[in-house]
Symmetry: C2
């Protein structure tokens, strides 16, 4: 545990993500957070100005990365002029899954996101759509191209359902838990496979 190899700022961000996920944005206090990061209480206000700014920074870091990864995966899929619906879904889902297994936080950030949704914070919501809307729009176009028989309204409803199921699944809200014998990686791979089959069928619905 060489925490000292990370800067104060980075240690705060890491601890913030972990604790926000565990206890929610309001539930995680700066005192808990700075203790976990082994950093002085005042450091948050020194480096970020306020707790709210810290929250915004946590979201920006992750969502910018996730958006880039998703668009990159989509571009790769689109090398094929007529990609399958499943391939498009994979481009959407796998960067999110990779984020939740690749990092120390596990599914932490997805729970932060779920909290944010549940808190119905309008400020945060508009921040998200401003910062991230173009990614969803690009994917919506791509889905529309491979689902020619579907009205725009129906497509948007179904994308909403897909997003809901994905957050729910990735935050591990559901009944299904990873069994002791199964590695987290294998569990996630299974989740992705199940999810893509389910979502593809739902999007294609009669």
């Amino acid at each position: 545990m060489k925490a000292a190899t990370f800067s104060t700022r980075d240690r705060i961000l890491g601890a913030a993500e972990r604790l926000f996920a565990e206890r929610g944005l309001e539930g995680a206090s700066l005192r808990q957070l700075t203790a976990e990061a082994k950093v002085n209480l005042a450091a948050v206000n020194y480096h970020f100005g306020s707790k709210d700014n810290l929250i915004a920074e946590v979201f920006s870091r992750r969502l910018d990365q996730l958006g880039e990864d998703r668009l990159a995966a989509l571009a790769e899929v689109r090398v094929d002029p007529q990609p399958s619906l499943e391939a498009l879904l994979r481009a959407f889902v796998e960067p999110a899954l990779a984020m939740t297994i690749g990092e120390s936080g596990g599914s932490a950030f997805m729970r932060v996101l779920a909290h944010a949704y549940a808190e119905q914070n309008e400020q945060l919501r508009s921040f998200l759509s401003e910062r991230y809307g173009h990614v969803l729009k690009t994917f919506a176009e791509a889905f529309a191209a491979v689902l020619p028989g579907i009205s725009r309204e129906t497509l948007y409803w179904r994308l909403d359902f897909v997003a809901g199921a994905l957050v729910y699944a990735m935050a591990e809200f559901g009944l299904i838990r990873r069994r002791p014998g199964v590695s987290e990686k294998a569990h996630r791979a299974r989740a992705a496979q199940q999810f893509i089959a389910f979502a593809a069928a739902g999007l294609r619905a009669g």
Copy 2:
């Protein structure tokens, strides 16, 4: 506004549901709550013992009712010895939708539920599965009966996805908002129709 026609206890429960949904279980304070209910601060602890007990009571009231309604709807559908998957889904979805439009709180309680999920409170989670697990189990059996080709594992995954999409849709997290001209009732009916088509296709997936 004749608040006085409701008992102190009932006014607390009503205000609690509204505020918990707006601000989360931790975000809503007893001072805000008792002010909204036009009730003395100490009344919560007098009538419920603690804030935690009040939270449990809010969940119990709603979930007991929802569980009963869903099982009643399921029983009705099962009069037909070979009900359609869509009919089973309707029995699952419509009591939930009816709850969110019938009451003053709108989609309030669903957001309370989403908060609870996001908070990953183990105590609450086991409370939910203890109190509510039999309803989900009964539905799982019914779904299994009309989806003979599907393994148990796959069925559980898909039910998880369905639950996630439903909570997400009902809490109005998504991009789709009710348009000014459309009544809430009509909006919900459209949501139910879209959701059932999507979920049925997803459950049947190849």
